[in-house]
């Protein structure tokens, strides 16, 4: 069922200065959610700007996310609060998003969102203070065992790549971020043609469009955007990395790149591929797989077992993490499955219907939450696809399409990490 039958039509417009606007009205609701997202993230530390190659330390995108709320004579977060909006922001490897939720038709809050994100204000003392605050955040992630394991795995899977660094940076990298660094990154990437505005919930489309068009985000002339240099990848490491961490259980983490040789599929076809592979992983590493249930019933794994498929601009990988008492054995078992994904999936294909139904149900449930819809918008990654597009895409996926996707993927190296508990 095409969702256009159930939800009001979406509007997608590119403004004169290149800003991309997406409206997905839901008039039955009482709230609205707005997201301004920039195509610039933690991994984008090497780029070409005005024919010059710029190399920046880790943590710049996240630093900008923090600092931008500090405006010349006010704090944008507090201003949004006083306008009745709850604001937040987050930085991923490839994008930075600023969003708020509020009651319907909050044009003042929308205008503020489209103002503070367009103004880079980086006074030296504020930058120094921010570096100290973020250093504490970095400490928190350094202390967090799961975050550590994840970083170690990425260092095995993408040696020497920024993906292996924490998005917030480290004490050392933060010490290298100064006003000039921030200004360069801001002018390179915080340009209207490098941004998307996504709004959903209850709002008057005409009034909202008028607010957007007269806002700073639309009035600013777009300068040339920096060109991110796609990193060349070193081979993934094959040998398991053994570490001791401050935990009381043995853990393993495995990772495998998806389509290393070829370039990742883009546009809606990329979205379909991503969903198809996710479904395959749900099936093969879930309760419907007898092999998985054997691991579970033999206490080789427990409820902590998690499998993720991450796909962003210029990278995609599968990661698996779990507690276990038999790390080497489990790594063998899981690697075996990963190396034979098409066959393992084919064996379970009569159960495919159930994982597909589960996924459809999960997606539909998310339609009830405006903030969820807004924050899951990924701009131009899959050609401005929305949660509703995901649903439509999901419906069309069948067993043979999934098998095609799995077969066309490289048979990549599997990297792994074994975490030994710190027994004191």
């Amino acid at each position: 069922m095409k969702l256009t039958n159930f939800f009001p039509a979406e509007q997608h417009v590119v403004l004169e200065n290149g800003l991309r606007v997406h409206l997905a009205p839901r008039p039955d609701f009482h709230q609205m959610a707005a997201n301004l997202t920039v195509d610039f993230g933690g991994r984008d530390t090497r780029f070409i700007l005005n024919n010059e190659v710029i190399e920046q330390p880790a943590g710049v995108a996240h630093f900008l996310e923090h600092r931008l709320f500090g405006q010349p004579d006010y704090d944008a977060f507090q201003k949004l609060s006083s306008l009745g909006a709850e604001a937040n922001a987050f930085t991923s490897q490839s994008r930075t998003s600023y969003y708020f939720t509020s009651l319907q038709n909050n044009l003042a809050a929308l205008d503020e969102l489209l103002t503070f994100t367009q103004t880079g204000y980086f006074p030296e003392d504020a930058v120094k203070r921010e570096a100290q605050i973020i250093a504490q955040e970095a400490d928190m992630y350094q202390d967090n065992v799961d975050a550590q394991v994840y970083r170690l795995l990425l260092a095995q899977l993408y040696p020497g790549d920024m993906l292996a660094q924490d998005i917030v940076g480290t004490h050392a990298s933060l010490a290298q971020i100064d006003v000039a660094t921030l200004e360069t990154a801001f002018s390179a990437f915080y340009q209207p043609e490098n941004m998307d505005v996504f709004i959903t919930g209850a709002f008057d489309t005409d009034a909202v469009m008028a607010t957007i068009v007269s806002s700073m985000a639309s009035q600013r002339l777009s300068q040339k955007v920096g060109q991110v240099i796609v990193p060349e990848l070193a081979p993934a490491k094959k040998e398991p990395l053994n570490v001791v961490l401050a935990t009381n259980r043995t853990k393993v983490a495995l990772g495998m790149r998806f389509k290393t040789g070829a370039v990742l599929t883009t546009g809606r076809e990329g979205l379909k591929e991503m969903i198809a592979v996710s479904l395959a992983l749900d099936l093969v590493f879930g309760e419907l797989s007898p092999e998985y249930m054997e691991w579970y019933n033999d206490a080789l794994i427990d409820d902590d077992f998690s499998v993720e498929f991450e796909w962003e601009r210029d990278f995609a990988f599968i990661s698996i993490a779990t507690d276990t008492n038999e790390p080497e054995w489990l790594i063998d078992e899981i690697s075996n499955v990963l190396n034979q994904l098409p066959d393992k999936f084919a064996t379970l294909q009569d159960k495919f219907d159930l994982v597909k139904k589960d996924a459809l149900g999960r997606t539909v449930n998310r339609f009830n939450f405006m903030e969820e819809i807004a924050t899951s918008f990924e701009g131009n990654l899959f050609n401005a696809s929305t949660l509703m597009d995901e649903y439509d895409m999901l419906e069309t996926i069948d067993v043979s399409y999934v098998l095609d996707c799995l077969r066309l993927a490289d048979n990549s190296t599997i990297s792994s990490v074994i975490v030994h508990p710190n027994i004191e």
């Binding site: 709230q31 159930l354 149900g361 539909v364 449930n365």
Partner: protein
């Protein structure tokens, strides 16, 4: 909105709406709180949630839910005033999204009937022993975990010291001892009692046709012989204040004051506003004075239960600041009793409450909860904004003057005094 009696003691409340992409169905089995039955009812709820004749294992159940597009199902126990409720809920996607041979809504109700009316067990032996034992273990683990939640435990012990009736003092799941003692047969008997006597309120929210629902609910195997229940619990205010203190090996001390606040139904909105101003928000009197200004407590908040006339003030504090914190709380109450709040303060709180209310309208489970509770209060939300707007600075002061202190409870943490 449809609300009707579909058979004696069984109410059907349909909230037709196209707002949500899901349909939510609730079966609420209601009885007056009985200290003897609570533990059995809690285990019964766990059994109804985990297995049935048709779905005897976790895998069978999970696959049944997957077949219904990942439907979400649960059975909870809760209290409303002096009522004990077993609430079974199912959230299923709107069937218009999918083309199914058999309508999804129908499948959902059939599933709920299976789980509620066809449990894994029989009258002779009771519930299936293996599943029952496992569920009891899990429940006892959960309850043990709650003992680590000091603020929660402090509130519970303070309420124990207040309520005259044992049943009223108990939480919805009873006590550890009572849970341990329940047998599979006793829990099964409690299930039969539930079907025979409890009032049943069925609530449905979503894009549904009334006729379809009524058809699917034909011939429910319930008799609801004791449907006349009253949620409101009242007791006479005690003339003297009960003071209790316990010690635990933790850092933070919990201070809980229990007030009786008995107000007529017509004045309840003034009571809601009073509670929000006194301690219900981060711009409340207690928060701004006791926490922000005097720095006495990291956490300080109030909770008002209109079904039991109880207003709790709970604070997590340093053990050396008990006297000052207690005095600060009392001072803030006296101030509200003697001085009118400002019109600006009143408007701010009303604005916050209105926003919270509007936000709740976008949450389907909050809507069904509210529809269910309305059945007992016979108070609709249609006049909600009017009633809130009618609250004045004088009516708030009048509420403050009705507050009667009943219990002062202290859970002292003695660990902070240790030298490391």
């Amino acid at each position: 909105m449809t609300k009707e009696l579909i058979k004696p003691g069984v109410w059907l409340n349909i909230q037709p709406t196209k707002q949500f992409s899901t349909v939510r169905i609730e079966f609420n089995f209601v009885t007056t709180m009985d200290a003897q039955l609570v533990a059995a009812r809690t285990l019964l709820a766990k059994m109804l949630e985990s297995a049935s004749q048709k779905y005897p294992s976790q895998t069978d159940l999970a696959q049944a839910l997957s077949r219904m597009y990942g439907a979400g199902f649960g059975v909870d126990v809760l209290k409303i005033g002096q009522l004990h409720v077993i609430k079974a809920h199912l959230a299923i996607i709107d069937e218009h999204f999918v083309s199914e041979d058999s309508p999804l809504l129908q499948q959902g109700i059939t599933f709920m009937r299976e789980m509620l009316f066809n449990p894994l067990g029989d009258a002779a032996q009771g519930f299936d022993l293996t599943v029952f034992t496992r569920q009891k273990e899990l429940l006892l683990d959960e309850m043990a975990g709650l003992e680590d939640d000091r603020p929660y435990i402090a509130n519970r012990h303070a309420l124990n010291a207040y309520f005259d009736e044992t049943g009223q003092a108990l939480p919805a799941y009873g006590t550890t001892e009572a849970i341990e003692a329940v047998t599979p047969k006793e829990a099964f008997d409690a299930w039969q009692d539930m079907l025979a006597t409890n009032r049943l309120d069925i609530v449905v929210s979503g894009d549904v046709e009334e006729a379809d629902i009524i058809e699917a609910l034909a011939n429910l195997p319930v008799n609801a012989t004791k449907p006349n229940v009253d949620a409101y619990y009242h007791q006479e205010a005690h003339k003297t204040i009960v003071q209790e203190q316990e010690t635990q090996h933790v850092n933070q001390t919990q201070l809980v004051l229990v007030y009786q606040l008995a107000v007529p139904t017509e004045a309840r909105f003034s009571a809601y506003v009073f509670e929000q101003i006194f301690g219900g928000t981060p711009v409340s009197r207690l928060f701004l004075d006791v926490r922000e200004t005097r720095g006495l407590a990291y956490s300080i908040a109030t909770d008002y239960n209109r079904f039991t006339d109880v207003l709790l003030v709970s604070a997590g504090i340093d053990g050396h600041e008990v006297v000052q914190t207690r005095q600060a709380i009392l001072d803030n109450l006296v101030r509200l009793q003697q001085e009118l709040i400002t019109p600006v303060e009143l408007e701010t709180i009303k604005s916050l409450m209105k926003t919270e209310f509007m936000v709740s309208l976008d949450n389907q489970s909050q809507l069904t909860d509210r529809a269910f509770i309305e059945s007992f209060t016979v108070q609709s939300i249609e006049k909600w904004f009017e009633a809130l707007d009618a609250v004045t600075v004088e009516s708030v002061q009048a509420i403050a003057q009705k507050m009667v202190l009943q219990v002062e409870y202290l859970l002292k943490g003695d660990r902070a005094d240790e030298i490391d």
